[in-house]
Symmetry: C2
Subunit: 316 residues, 2 copies
Amino acid sequence: MTPVTLRQMRAFLAIVRLGSFTGAARQLHLTQPALTVQLRQLEQALGVRLLDRTTRTATPTRIGAEFARALAPLLAELDTVLERVQDHAARRTGRIDLATLPSLASTVLPAVIARLRVSNPGLRVRMREAVTGPVGEMVRAGMVDFGIGGSVKEDGELEVQHLFDDPLLLIFPREHPLAARRSVTLHQLLEVPLLLPEPNSGIRHAVDQAFAAAGLPMEPAQEAVSTGTLVGMVRAGLGLGVLPSTAVEMQVIPDLRALPIGDPPLTRPIALVRRAGRSLSPAAEAFLATLRECLALRGDLRGFTTPSRPLDGKKP
Amino acid sequence: MTPVTLRQMRAFLAIVRLGSFTGAARQLHLTQPALTVQLRQLEQALGVRLLDRTTRTATPTRIGAEFARALAPLLAELDTVLERVQDHAARRTGRIDLATLPSLASTVLPAVIARLRVSNPGLRVRMREAVTGPVGEMVRAGMVDFGIGGSVKEDGELEVQHLFDDPLLLIFPREHPLAARRSVTLHQLLEVPLLLPEPNSGIRHAVDQAFAAAGLPMEPAQEAVSTGTLVGMVRAGLGLGVLPSTAVEMQVIPDLRALPIGDPPLTRPIALVRRAGRSLSPAAEAFLATLRECLALRGDLRGFTTPSRPLDGKKP
DNA sequence: CTGAATTCATAACGCGACTTTATGGACCGC
DNA sequence: GCGGTCCATAAAGTCGCGTTATGAATTCAG
């Protein structure tokens, strides 16, 4: 007892629609004997005669007609389901859920999304800024397809892939003496009041480590939770701030200047964080592909999103 | 680009349900490599990864999960549709629409239906008594699956198949002199006032032809449209009536007697009438099978339905 | 009424797909 | 660490499916 196949049922519906084996064969790009065999198999599998054939034409049996009526919408729906899946495959449809840092969310990633909308207009992106929990945790919990952030440790569940290095910049009022220089050293930073992000942030981690590696004792004058407040404090004259270039792009306005720190320049790593062993959706793959395109285009991220608003004319 | 098959989708759902290739393989009575290949083909056909396999387990991708959610109810419904068709095939389900004569409808066929209910309890029979139009026309119009009646001419559209001969009986009050005899001849009928059905009925046709064949001039004393009124007229003393045995079984009560007419006995033919080139539903086939069983059991129809109410003790 | 054309059914044959057996690699649990 | 389990891959046999060729039956035209 061979099972009923989709092929057989599609053939059956075609024959019923056209009332003819030969016609259906033409439409299905098959020969007529193939259809004859298909239908015989279907009838054998079901145990019922579905079509009454004369030598001239084929008309459905009562049961055949009922079957066709029930079958047609089912197969149509099945086809739409398959098409929907294939739309995902072709990146014509899909949603990307990602977690990232606020700075990236408002600078780099919008550019990527814009580019994505050109190549894959059907894709929708939902960015979650990692305010509630670290990027890694959101990925681990399955809340997002992947994350883009820094300083996530790879383990059995998470797979981390370096994307680029985000330079850290020193932010200060343009009247400050440093404004004449093209860069600053770590030593120079020891002599000014430093405003740094809070201790458990990726930026702070990178800064602390740089000073530690250089054997220099650093004590921040002030700490800030958000980049916005940090910029505000700089502007208020409380000190000189350290921010990633992405965050700077987001907030700096003409009354402030920014300089790279150290040589080689101090950076924080930005990486792709994904669940180990889990494949990404085609939509997510497309997103990452355009992200990498963007990175390849410029090497790094400075001035990435806002070429029309140059950062102090200081780009190398 | 090979097409998606039911087999592949069933395999996919099984794997998703069990979270395991090996388990699904056991359930489907296949080997695990077969499932691996099936799923790879499905994924290739769709262009999407549906399952993320570790060496330990298989978990659906986001898209795979959506697909499975949409697919499962569809396939379930498809299966019920197929089962419904197979129920028809197995004669577990089905409706028989047939046209027949009032006499048969109330005598022979109920017995057939009763027998059918034993062997195929799921079948339902809808008998239409051919009062509005001749049985043949109802069959020709497709109002019924088949008809059981007499004197229908075979043509390109109708196929007629003899079933049995229904004896015609002479009905008269038990006080009548003929009550002593075991049969009557056509000659004897010429000497009594005859009550016959209307001219275009099958019975009348058989009677007229019998007299014509014998070269005897016959003139009915009265004509009746329904068998009921004919019996009433006999009972009222208007004459002696001629009725088919089936109709007699239906109506005769103790004050009347019935005798076969002529030797060999006068009969009317009862035939199966079906559309030429159209197959019958399994349900209809089952009905006809039990009808033939009933006929084979007794050779003809006399006393068929009411063995508990013997017809005058006159059965051969 | 006869012949051409069309339609469905059948037979034979060749290709391709599917399944099984055998084996390898990765991970889990004891 | 070692056996057991699970998925992936390769090779080989079998079966099914489709095409070509042909037949039988019916329709239509002349």
